[in-house]
């Protein structure tokens, strides 16, 4: 469920980087304010735990497949949302670097999808509300299961929105949602059950750990302020990037933001909160023709073609296919590949000789 660079446009990737970067800076500030020395190694080692635990599998009965843990919710329960967000972001960063999971541009999306929704939505609004401050085993079980499911549902929806807003994939909104949400309902259920199991294990073995964790103050009013600030930052970045895109005659295809940038700014004035703005983005999507007929070498055809062709499919809206350019592209492409290989080979030979 890691979002990937290959499916992202720079505008969407940049916007999500800004949002996640802002959340990261704010969380770092919060953690510093807690001034709990003990937490420094605890967070580090727990991050390594999540990393290691994700590599242990178990067989899911009757399916033959195997499941593992995501871990965001356990972190939130043990560390509180701010620290948990930092730890989750660090785990995702290391995964992006070591295993190339997703990629560096997609890191902003992944931190948001897997960190924000779990730590700042599912944990305070679902887990905390159900489990409360007591150490009631059944409530903790129910709370962590439901929060696990909700976190992954929101995360999967985030992936859908970011993919569609980027416009690289052809999948229509409805199909993609119908594909992603049910799969992640199953994954979320597993995640929720694993979280519930581990938390109940800790509750039985070392209840004082959970008692210490619940004593910490829940996140207060400041979340709203932070969200408002972040929404503003996201809207501004999106608008700035889309302005840059449309100012660029070469046709960087950031069409989603080009068509919706203005409406986004208007809603930004009212500040609906981040979720509301995400919700609005999705409602633009049906209007946005995904079948964009564009040939990069013919910017003139592109402007007229996109507006007139909501469904495309027919021959007419497609820009004329220039066979000459196609052949030249193929020949040149093959030559470029050969050249790149030759350069690499030559550099290696030279280095080996040196």
């Amino acid at each position: 469920m890691h979002m990937a660079d290959a499916l992202l446009s720079p505008a969407v990737g940049g916007t999500m980087w800004t949002v996640s970067g802002g959340l990261l800076a704010y969380s770092a500030k919060k953690v510093r304010e807690e001034a709990d020395d003990r937490k420094v190694p605890l967070m580090g080692v727990l991050g390594a735990f999540i990393f290691a635990a994700q590599m242990i599998n178990f067989t899911i009965p009757a399916t033959g497949s195997s499941g593992h843990m995501g871990g965001g919710m356990i972190l939130a329960i043990l560390l509180g949302p701010w620290s948990a967000f930092l730890v989750m972001a660090s785990v995702l960063t290391v995964q992006a670097l070591f295993f190339a999971d997703g990629g560096l541009l997609a890191l902003g999306c992944n931190i948001f999808n897997l960190g924000f929704f779990t730590c700042f939505v599912a944990y305070p609004l679902i887990y905390k509300k159900i489990a409360g401050d007591g150490l009631d085993g059944r409530r903790i079980m129910l709370g962590s299961t439901l929060a696990g499911i909700a976190g992954l549902q929101l995360g999967a929806f985030g992936v859908v929105v970011q993919t569609l807003a980027s416009g690289i994939s052809e999948l229509p909104f409805k199909t993609f949602v119908m594909l992603m949400q049910p799969i992640h309902l199953a994954i979320g259920l597993v995640e929720g059950l694993v979280t519930a199991g581990v938390v109940s294990f800790i509750l039985k073995a070392r209840p004082e750990i959970l008692a210490a964790a619940t004593e910490r103050k829940p996140i207060g009013v400041s979340v709203k302020g932070a969200l408002a600030g972040l929404t503003a930052a996201a809207v501004l970045t999106g608008a700035a990037l889309s302005w840059f895109a449309s100012a660029n005659p070469d046709g960087l295809e950031w069409a989603m933001l080009r068509t919706s940038g203005k409406e986004e700014l208007e809603s930004g004035a009212k500040v609906h909160g981040l979720l509301a703005s995400l919700q609005e983005k999705t409602s633009f999507l049906p209007d946005y023709g995904f079948k964009k007929a564009e040939v990069v070498h013919e910017p003139a055809a592109e402007e007229g073609g996109t507006q007139a062709a909501p469904e495309a499919g027919e021959q007419a809206p497609w820009p004329a296919v220039d066979a000459g350019t196609s052949v030249a592209g193929l020949v040149g492409g093959l030559l470029t590949l050969a050249l790149a290989g030759l350069i690499g080979f030559a550099l290696r030979r030279r280095n080996a000789a040196a």
Binding site: A6, S9, F58, E294
Partner: protein
Amino acid sequence: MGQLAQNLTDIGYMDTLAAGFTRLHRLDPRAKLLTTALFIVAVVSFGKYEVSALLPFLLYPVYLAAQGRLPVGHLLKKVLLVSPFAVVVGIFNPFLDSGVLLRVGDFGVSGGWVSFASILLRFFLTVSAALLLLALTGMNSICEALLRLGVPKAFVVQLLFLNRYLFSLTAEAESMSRARALRSAGRGGMGFGVFIQILGHLLLKTLDRAERVYRAMLCRGFDGHIRVARFSNIGRPELLFCGAWTALFIVFRFVNLPVALGQAVTGLLK
């Protein structure tokens, strides 16, 4: 060797590679980080039907791998085995987008296949760039660069700790997981119940370890501040590296070299 042990070896191997001594290894990590970021942005900024103009960008990973004397086979295997989310989503394009976009003689290629090829190429370029960055720089230097580029210290320290304890905890998980596998005749012990017990115990061990680490840090004079060592500086090699690649990326981004080259060659043949 099990999957887990394999992962552990892979992570360790990346650190071994980063300990190399070529000119690229010695560059300030900030230069490599920023150039790679620019590379990724340039690659993903193309329209979704672009394939040919993306090809010159292959020069960057090819150069890094060759000049850094990295094992190309091993890294290629890592790139190809990476999580296939982009490929899974991209494979729908050929079915959904069937308008003919490219024509070679009588043979028409639909837009969906072209955009799918574009996704695969982007995937290869971005993933290999990230892996090569790590293989040439190493986690500790990347953290140093992040700190000096203004990333909050709490996060950088978190990354450093995570990197430091990754190995010990993964090794711990590996031995627990192998012990379970050896005691599971058939699939007996691989179910949910034992899994939770293992995770729970691993978590308890982790918490104890955190406490031990904290005490050890206090013994060594920890005062609540972590100091990150700074080794490198921006000098002429860094400026040259950044400048030359930035210029190349700009040329690659705005001039479709393969098409120009192809037109020249086909023009000659006529």
